[in-house]
């Protein structure tokens, strides 16, 4: 109906009252169609986003009614060394995780593109991504166990010293980052691989005729033309990376001491273990603004490079 009503020739001939009626009928249908999703949007996205700010101004243990305390949570947070440490640790995680993951994925994609189009190879390499964070964390918790873990025994066999991995102050975060690199590498490689396939082969042929080497072709053709994919991979993995929780919950539970107490883990602890729901929400609001900032910075970088995208 809509399409007929809105073609110009029809609109002119149909009388306003009929037009009005059809319009309403169509609109009512539309409202019924979007109603479930609208309820979901309001209940679980829009209203909670506002509620988060409200809750962050209260003291609340979830048992009694919340008590309005103004900015006290935020004041407490500024003086909370564990919170600052959690931000530092999260940032360390991101800095270990993202560059390693992205570079290795790109490397994997180029290697795949060079020698095989096999679906089976891609299927194998993407397998870790299809497993739950919990499963991946359990696998590595076992492999990297200081006493019985296969990796450690192998390291010792090779004549190197035993590594503590998860149970060490220095190694906990790089280890957790490494575990997630293992999980995400193949998936990101798949995205890069798909991107490489969409680059016209003639570009490479022309470059080969001009005598360009492999490395030059990678830097001058592959890398710039992959920019849209790279941006997508970075945007999605960066925001996710800042919210790391699952792997920490399974492997180190924030320890040793506070060495891997990342910010979302500390938020969950405050909300559910320490019954400081308002305080936890205030931290989540701060994290929200950090993520907005990160996203805006990325948008700026993205927009600054639009010329590369238009290919």
């Amino acid at each position: 109906m809509s399409t007929q009503v809105y073609t110009p020739s029809r609109t002119k001939t149909v009388s306003p009252s009929l037009w009005q009626r059809l319009f309403n009928q169509e609109a009512i249908t539309a409202y019924i169609f979007i109603l479930p999703s609208l309820i979901g949007f309001l209940a679980f996205f829009a209203i909670p986003a506002i509620r988060a700010f409200q809750i962050s101004f209260t003291e609340w243990n979830l048992l009694r009614a919340p008590k309005y305390i103004g900015l006290e949570n935020y004041q407490e947070l500024i003086g909370d060394p564990v919170f600052w440490n959690s931000l530092k640790v999260t940032l360390q995680y991101v800095v270990w995780n993202i560059p390693l993951q992205t570079v290795l994925a790109l490397f994997m994609a180029v290697v795949m593109d060079r020698v095989t189009k096999s679906m089976a190879v891609r299927g194998i390499l993407v397998m870790p991504y299809l497993m739950s964070n919990v499963i991946v964390a359990l696998i590595w918790l076992w492999l990297l166990d200081p006493n019985l873990g296969f990796v450690n025994l192998l390291i010792q066999k090779l004549g190197l010293g035993k590594q503590p991995f998860f149970v060490s102050l220095e190694q906990a975060i790089p280890t957790i980052a490494g575990v997630n690199v293992w999980r995400h590498m193949g998936f990101n490689a798949l995205l890069f691989y798909a991107g490489i396939q969409s680059i016209p082969k003639s570009f490479y042929e022309a470059a080969t005729i001009d005598g360009a080497g492999e490395w030059a072709m990678f830097r001058r053709i592959t890398l710039p033309l992959l920019r849209p994919v790279t941006v997508f991979v970075l945007v999605t993995s960066l925001v996710g990376s800042f919210q790391i929780f699952d792997t920490v919950a399974v492997t180190t539970q924030g320890g040793p001491v506070d060495a891997s107490r990342v910010v979302v883990y500390y938020i969950v602890q405050n909300a559910f273990a320490f019954s400081k729901f308002g305080y936890a929400t205030a931290m989540s609001v701060v994290l929200f603004f950090i993520l907005v900032l990160v996203t805006l910075l990325q948008m700026r970088i993205l927009r600054g490079n639009t010329s590369d995208l238009s290919s």
Partner: protein
């Protein structure tokens, strides 16, 4: 990269050094991916008492299915403890069932309601269409970390803690990505198809159900696969709203609890690895049966 770089220019096809080196690299990457899974299986097949005896061997000396049996609850508590188990069963089959229910409900409801909304945004005219669609897109940017605490309060106030409804609620009614993704596809369907149906007097829902959905099976399958994998692996939300009830835990949540039960100071590794391996089997099956479709869907998720 350097190796391939040095090799490439003179070799388009054939077996030169560069190509061989690239293959070696690829095989190394494949081993890095697969080998940990082999260690999981090996550990699961090892009798608990022998775990310490030959940890570096590639095969279990006396392979046993005992660990699988005790994870599946087919062994009595006494036998279990005698073999080094925690004595507490993991309720594995129950958590598999919970995962199946959770995943199915999320996929079916989210896809259906998102498709309905996407159709309205793509084809129907109504006041507020642009604004509402823009708001949905904005929701895509809201990080879960800021939403989960208020959402938890809502579920708690509704009395939905430790229920399937509470577990699926935030996912079931919509996903901004699904609405956006399907709207894009619906816009590309020729309008003539629907016009013919309208002339026949088909209702808007009839048009949606009998014409739009069947025409869109490919993108819907993509969405179902992506949502399904996500739901099957989801840990955080089911852990928060239903983690305390041992009959409501999904598989990832149950495995996390199983890991925290430490009978003799260290986790029950053989049992844990048996549980882990059983949890990976659906992924093997998915890849074997639907591999091509899964890989295309995953690749597609990046090409927006």
């Amino acid at each position: 990269m350097v190796e391939t770089g040095m090799a490439g220019s003179n070799a388009v096809r054939g077996w030169d050094i560069g190509r061989i080196l690239t293959w070696v690299l690829l095989i190394f990457l494949i081993i890095v991916t697969i080998f940990p899974l082999w260690v999981v299986l090996k550990t699961a097949l090892t009798p608990t008492r022998e775990l310490f005896s030959s940890p570096l061997s590639l095969f279990p000396e006396n392979p046993t299915l005992f660990n699988f049996r005790r994870v599946l609850g087919l062994v009595s508590v006494e036998e279990n403890v005698a073999a080094g188990g925690s004595g507490q069963s993991i309720n594995f089959m129950r958590s598999v069932w919970n995962s199946v229910v959770f995943t199915t409900l999320v996929v079916v409801f989210q896809t259906f309601f998102s498709a309905l909304a996407a159709y309205a945004f793509a084809r129907l005219k109504f006041i507020g269409r642009e604004i509402i669609f823009f708001l949905y897109l904005a929701a895509l940017m809201l990080p879960g970390a800021v939403l989960f605490l208020p959402n938890f309060v809502l579920i708690k106030n509704l009395g939905w803690l430790n229920t399937y409804v509470g577990m699926i609620a935030p996912f079931a009614l919509m996903s901004p990505f699904a609405v956006f993704f399907l709207r894009q596809f619906f816009l590309s369907i020729p309008k003539e198809l629907e016009e013919a149906a309208k002339l026949d007097g088909t209702s808007p829902f009839g048009t949606f159900w009998r014409i739009i959905l069947p025409t869109s099976m490919t993108p819907i399958a993509t969405l179902v696969i992506l949502t399904g994998i996500g739901a099957w692996n989801e840990f955080f939300w089911p852990y928060l709203v239903a983690g305390s009830s041992d009959t409501m835990r999904t598989l990832p949540v149950a495995l996390q609890y199983f890991r925290t039960q430490t009978p003799q100071g260290s986790p029950d590794w053989t049992g844990l690895m048996a549980g882990t391996f059983l949890s990976i089997i659906p992924i093997f099956l998915l890849l074997i049966i639907l591999g091509r479709k899964v890989i295309n869907s995953l690749q597609f998720s990046g090409l927006k």
